[in-house]
Symmetry: C2
Subunit: 677 residues, 2 copies
Amino acid sequence: MVTHGPHPFDPISPEEIRLAVKILEATFPGVSLRYKRIDVNEPIKKDVIAYIEAERLRRPLPSPPARLLYVLFHRLDTGAFYKAILNADKRSIVYAKELPKEVQGPIDIDEIAGIEEMCMKHPAVLAEIEKLQLPAGVTVCNDPWMYGTDNDTEDRRLFQCFMYMVEVDHPQNNHYSLPCKFSPVFDGLTHELVRMDYLPGGADFETSTTQPWKPVKTVQYAHDLLDEPVRSDLKPYIVQQPEGPSYSVDGNSVYWQKWRFRVGFNAREGLVIYNVTYDNRNLFYRLAVSEMTVPYGDPRAPYHRKQAFDVGDTGFGMNANQLALGCDCLGHIKYFDGYRNDCKGNPLQLKNVICMHEQDNGLQHKHTNYRSGAATVVRNRQLVLQMICTVANYEYIFNYIFDQAANVELEVRATGILSTVPFDNENGQTVPWGTNVGPGVMAPFHQHMFSLRVDPAIDGFKNTIYYEDSVPMPEDEKNPYLVGYVSEPTVMRTSGTANTSVDRHRVFKIRNDNVVNPITYKPVAYKLMAAPSQMLLVSKNAPGYRRAEFATKPIWVTKYQDDELYAAGEFTNQSRRAEGVETWVQRKDNTENEDVILWHTFGLTHNPRIEDFPVMPMERISVMLKPDGFFNKNPALDVPQSSQLFNKSSLHPEEAASCCAGSSSAGTKAKLYKRID
Amino acid sequence: MVTHGPHPFDPISPEEIRLAVKILEATFPGVSLRYKRIDVNEPIKKDVIAYIEAERLRRPLPSPPARLLYVLFHRLDTGAFYKAILNADKRSIVYAKELPKEVQGPIDIDEIAGIEEMCMKHPAVLAEIEKLQLPAGVTVCNDPWMYGTDNDTEDRRLFQCFMYMVEVDHPQNNHYSLPCKFSPVFDGLTHELVRMDYLPGGADFETSTTQPWKPVKTVQYAHDLLDEPVRSDLKPYIVQQPEGPSYSVDGNSVYWQKWRFRVGFNAREGLVIYNVTYDNRNLFYRLAVSEMTVPYGDPRAPYHRKQAFDVGDTGFGMNANQLALGCDCLGHIKYFDGYRNDCKGNPLQLKNVICMHEQDNGLQHKHTNYRSGAATVVRNRQLVLQMICTVANYEYIFNYIFDQAANVELEVRATGILSTVPFDNENGQTVPWGTNVGPGVMAPFHQHMFSLRVDPAIDGFKNTIYYEDSVPMPEDEKNPYLVGYVSEPTVMRTSGTANTSVDRHRVFKIRNDNVVNPITYKPVAYKLMAAPSQMLLVSKNAPGYRRAEFATKPIWVTKYQDDELYAAGEFTNQSRRAEGVETWVQRKDNTENEDVILWHTFGLTHNPRIEDFPVMPMERISVMLKPDGFFNKNPALDVPQSSQLFNKSSLHPEEAASCCAGSSSAGTKAKLYKRID
């Protein structure tokens, strides 16, 4: 039965947001509700599989799985916080349950805008600003922050507002260059001032009452606020695709170079890649960045509570940039939109939150036969899906990159503005946990810890995760010349964790024990090119450790269960401990030849450079999924040769003309060595 | 005094090759000489510094350092092997010394071509081929290999010829798919057959006499030999630079986006980058891949001797591909040529061995002010210098990548064809030290170990190398909330080695103790983004370890001395032990605030995938040098904003038109969130 409703993996539509409001209004007649999140709820996997397998095998489609919606809201009469699951097909409620008092929902955009505005009008804040005795034209603004956690008793919903001086009224003034030394804490529901924190001014824990500001210059980044001129010697670089792109798109379904997948989007994770196949063979059911946490290393209050969870506390989808043609991507661009709700339940369009384009990444493979001079040269054309998230001061760029050799890469770029603190550094003062980045301003050390959730489907939905170490053979008669080394496999038979190991060249693989490669005689597999990273530096005895246990081990393996999507659990904001992977692995489920999930934690220990200020040149980190015994040979062998006829490069003028045999399928034929006399 | 001779860093010219021959003929009158290598000898550094500093500071130039030439040759009368240093300015010989009998020079191209040809005519080889009883049309070829080392007494110059069956007479037939089970060893000087080796056919050490070949199909890569069609759905992707490139070139001197450096080239290392400055501040005196070694993990004879040194045994410059427009690079390309000698001393031009072009690498930095919606977006334009080396079956692609944020990256791509061995795998047989990659053929595990030699000049020629670990603060009163972490520095005060550490996030830095950053209050520095890699797997007790001790530690620090350029020493071919970094560090020189060298060993443990055959999709490994406290802020701040006016992207047709404010220096102004009703 073919339906014309949304595909199971389609993002939420404005109609569905309105439907959710309608259902809940009918469920709570006469009660005013404040909507925090209205989104799709992940469909039940077993029901989806039948549907997507019928699609893949071009069989008649069964009924699609139930279309479920996920809603978080407050009752304005009692203040109670609810989670509801709705059935959009039946236009009915599955359940609505009141959550325990200590559970804090994520921060929403209307809420934070309200706090920010209220803070600026609060008499206690105005009194502190007064004491700064600011010069004419200099004003103050604030960034409300998630409060974090330092005890097990706090039930209030709190916000810590970090205050900054605004030197000039300009849309790109860098207020992060001038942090103030006072920081009010507010109750997010009552808007009451809970406490005025004073920030340390020097290299120790000392704080003081607010003193008149000793003016220093803002480190600006806007070009019209810079002292130096903009570079004038950068020449245009234009990508042209006169015959259009190599991809095609049908709704959120993408086809490119034997790849097929669906582009998902939700407020929490933002970009999600669903149902990835290559040459119509299953590879991955779902790929997403499931969580990230950013703990700070400055040991002083109130910075000890600075630990953002940018997926769970706010949401990459909520914070995704609306991208602009020619600015954020280059070439022939397809954009995807998303929707979110506001606090009243109105749908808001998020225009162009994902962009897709092809790029050239140099050579993919080359070989020159030195006898004949004949070369095979194939370039590495890639398809890139990009999402850029602004989390107040900071930016994350996520790129899923597909190539013609059946590799998928997740590349993360960290950029934006460092989270800064005030620091009286005029006397040559430094701290061992931060870097002076400008006059009066220091950027503390911190970590960015990401969790990539891989729901594999390597030639089917039952897989096994294992790792292989490269180890020298024992020095015995089977290794007479002492050069032998072998790979030593370890199968992760039950849910659990593993460490990466550079010294043992440990490689994690996902295999399908039911499908054997006819040449290697081993089960077909994909490998994870992990990003071995320093794990969480926070003490085991600190709340920040318990809240982010996913970031204490690089590899987690669990057996699939519906609703286990987020490495640090469903509710991270002011969480006392996670209820995520660290809980699920304890089931000790069988994970051999099962529906398994591979969670990879990787990250950056980011001890800021002064060069990262005022806007940071991107720091790149990447993980990749690569076939390893999945195909019978290089899957990119059938990619056309790189040729001048196709690529139309130009020669720097002082050179003589030269050209390769463009259309020859036997490739270029330049002898490696040419004799001159 | 301005001279019109070569610049001290210029590669050898054909005139200089001829001059060298002339000088040596005069030195050895009446003696026939066979020339192995005629190249520039690295100029004396102290003499160069005065010269390049005068260039940088635009002062009158002193006399250039002596132009020295380096020659390796054999006397044909005695067979003795000589090294000579010549003074090209004085047209005279500095010295010519006979080298000890056990020293083997590198393999040259005329030599290997001679061995290859002779092997195919040798009666013992023909007799083995006869026994194969090959079908009509199937022939045999051979790849002569460096012999490697398994004892301390071998004085002969030896070659091991690996034999392959050639299924079809085609310039791109993949003979590596059909390895034979016999392998003759020849004396390279006398051309005598030393031994006929028989290769194991199964998973154990057993060998047998040559049997009739049981035909199997070659795994081909040439498009006209493939069974499947070439992809037809890849659309052209054209890079246009209508205003030309952003670089300019003067001889071998390159200017691009505040960078200036010189492109060097020699037969041994190939591409060398000299005298790198940014905004006229010194950064690096010299960057080069100084050595690499490829030991194999198959424990069986004769594979235990398979350990190529692709720099010292042959030479990346010798094996550099002559690149073709539109095939190996994309965009606006400048090529550089090189020269080498043949065995008679004639100069040969190596056309287009280095290409240079700009590329777009996505975003370099972005920040959106969420209040105003104003975004700063700067793309990552890069300048790439590429060299591609074919070492018989295998290819290495080296890219030095410069960007606008003052980073330099060395990216290595491994591609080409795996070195294969015969393997009777029809019965489901496998080995733990290799991968079946086709019928009758197995690819043994191996490592590729590279040594990047960094001769730094961070704001001057006296530098200090140190490393910083990120470590939790002790759990005491200075860390009351248990979140604090600091960086712990260790200065490498004397020459020695260090390990990388992912768990401690160890970062290696090069600083100038004489120049303090006015904001961080720390010495200006660059950091090495190392590539932590598994080190050599060969046993400490094997010759392969002693020959490549550079590959047993990731970091080596030495005090600069002229002529200490190659990590495994000057002569690697059949070496019994290296005389390289492992020797030089033992001097325990002071390396604090001195002229120091940083050697970084990194590599790939390459346990082949079947997908790496017949031609391997590139495996990428990269190291980077990044400013860290060198500048006072992000050095790319003055790069023009990314705009549609400049970039001219196109929108996928189904989308509505949309565009960012191209020419605004305040960047794009799309609000992050837009309300729909």
